[in-house]
């Protein structure tokens, strides 16, 4: 466990050494503050559009941080050849995978915490109420969803050599699942065979990341999701994360590390 934690801590340090997080945070803050300063019909109580914009930016930033941080981990180790002394420690390949995953996931969690803190301060100062449990659910579900994304990106980084292609493919896949994934069953109903079966198969195979998006509940003040549902969704995310990590390990343990 110490080995995995040591590997993870290196990734976390990387998060605050690199500029990605700061750039995304400053952009989010600037756009949100600028949006919030717009005066619509002299009514200072209008707030939902600010929450909407800020949450969208947090989601995009969260995905960008998770995917870009993860996609470059193993290719960077291979390119700089630091993977060889690492594996000679001895650290097993499974520990490398777990350490990298844990580091990326925790780093994303830290970034999310900062983003949500900003969100709470900005919207709370306008609304004068802070639904902390709602924020907690939203951040937890998003973080659980990002665990699947991080595991998927790690798998992608084993398959594809270049971090740029891994980032692009993962981003398209995740955006596709978030936007269309939940509607594939509706689309399939109106398609002829064998397209219908194909769409249904995809629908039942993909991780339904759209469940974890409870932005609307937060924006429109709809209250909390049942905690049991949160727990089940977390288990669902854990199952897919485990599956992707196993696939990554299968790919990585037989992979030649020479570039």
């Amino acid at each position: 466990m110490n080995t995995i934690w040591a590997l993870a801590s290196v990734v976390i340090k990387e998060l605050y050494r690199r500029k990605d997080f700061y750039v995304l945070f400053v952009l989010t803050a600037l756009i949100t503050i600028a949006t919030g300063m717009v005066n619509f019909f002299h009514d200072p109580k209008i707030v939902r559009y600010v929450k909407d914009v800020c949450m969208l930016l947090i989601w995009v930033s969260g995905l960008l941080i998770a995917i870009t941080t993860t996609a470059r981990q193993i290719p960077a180790e291979r390119e700089s050849r630091t993977i060889f002394p690492l594996l000679a420690k001895p650290v097993t390949r499974w520990q490398v995978i777990l350490g990298k995953f844990l580091g990326c996931w925790l780093a994303t969690g830290i970034a999310l915490f900062v983003f949500y803190l900003f969100f709470a301060v900005i919207t709370g100062s306008r609304e004068q109420h802070w639904p902390w449990l709602g924020y907690l659910q939203a951040i937890w579900l998003q973080w659980a969803m990002l665990a699947v994304v991080v595991a998927l990106s790690l798998l992608g980084s084993i398959v594809s050599a270049a971090p740029s292609s891994t980032t692009t493919i993962c981003f398209i896949t995740v955006a596709g699942i978030l936007l269309v994934g939940g509607h594939l069953n509706t689309v399939a109903l109106h398609e002829p065979q064998p397209l219908q079966t194909l769409l249904y198969t995809i629908y039942f195979l993909i991780p339904h990341l759209e469940w974890f998006d409870i932005r609307d509940r937060l924006i429109y003040d709809w209250g909390l999701v049942d905690w049991l549902d949160c727990l089940l969704a977390t288990l669902y995310a854990a199952a897919y994360t485990g599956l992707f990590l196993l696939l990554t390990w299968f790919g990585f343990r037989r992979k030649s590390l020479n570039t």
């Binding site: 009514d43 269309v180 509706t186 609307d216 509940r217 549902d229």
Partner: protein, 291 residues
């Protein structure tokens, strides 16, 4: 012969300056963008109109607090709830059924996913209607010729948010962008009558709206048929105004005009009969007093 670089530079600058003075007045007429003071028209040109209906739809999404069909949910495209509400109508049962776009869960993924989604059909109330205003403002900036934006925005500001000054300013902006539009004039008249209780101004504006409606559709019977609800609204409101002001003859005249286009002429006839009875009673009253 060798030309000095300084002379060449001076010559080029002189040519540039001369061309600029000649071209500048012409260039101003090449595009309307330079005249515009709207940042969106400078950025997007006429392409901005594409976004306007999206922003208007966002206002409707906010009005439903997020309960809204996606492009994948098969649902008949009807009138938006904010428009229905601004016309003073409640949603019919058919509309309500149409809004139940989710239906029964299709599978366990769909069923479980609904625990995280908004699945309840509600409309904003208790002054939360203000949340739709930013989207209407953006829609108006994107497409200043989209009339519904002004009428819907003004309706919510007057009826739900008690902000008649802002509503009037928004409607006047709409009138500047769409001179003589009868729908905006109707909204303005309603504001004068219901919020400012200024009967004379309301009467004048509504009469102007009725004239504009007539001018617009006098040579277009098909258009008149499609837009008769607008004329119905203007004439019924004018009739009610005259009735409340005690001008029964004018009220009857406007109710009769409304009957020609109204979907419920019977109800209007009842009002006409009622007014005629009042007029008769008023005429008979001095006679009975004399006896």
């Amino acid at each position: 012969m060798k030309a000095s670089p300084h002379l060449l530079l001076a010559l080029t600058l002189a040519v540039c300056f001369t061309l600029a003075t000649g071209l500048e007045p012409r260039a101003a007429g090449w595009s309307n963008r330079t005249k515009s003071n709207n940042v969106f028209s400078v950025l997007f040109g006429d392409g901005r109109r594409m976004f306007a209906s999206e922003f208007f739809t966002m206002a409707d999404v906010y009005f439903h607090s997020g309960y809204y069909p996606s492009i994948f949910d098969l649902r008949q495209e009807g009138t938006k709830a904010i428009v229905t509400e601004s016309h003073g109508h409640a949603e019919s049962e058919e509309d309500e059924r149409n809004e139940d776009f989710l239906g029964r869960p299709k599978d366990w993924i769909d069923r479980f996913g609904r625990h995280f989604r908004i699945t309840e059909h509600t409309h904003l109330e208790h002054s939360h209607e203000r949340e739709i205003l930013p989207w209407l403002r953006l829609a108006a900036d994107m497409d200043p010729q989209m009339i519904q934006t002004y009428t819907v925005g003004a309706y919510f500001m007057c009826q739900h948010l008690d902000r008649p000054r802002e509503a009037e300013s928004f409607l006047r902006e709409g009138l500047r962008n769409n001179p003589g539009n009868y729908e905006i004039l109707f909204g303005l008249g309603r504001l004068y009558y219901q919020n400012y209780h200024d009967t004379n101004r309301a009467r004048n504006v509504w009469q102007l709206a009725a004239n504009k409606w007539y001018d617009r559709f006098k040579l277009d019977p098909e258009g008149a048929k499609e837009n008769k609800i607008g004329f119905d609204g203007i004439t019924v409101n004018l009739a009610s105004l005259e009735r409340d002001a005690g001008n029964y003859e004018d009220a009857i005249r406007w109710f009769q005009a409304a009957q020609k286009v109204s979907p419920a002429p019977g109800a209007l006839q009842e009002q006409i009969d009622e007014l005629k009875a009042k007029m008769a009673a008023a005429t008979n009253a001095p006679a009975s007093l004399a006896h």
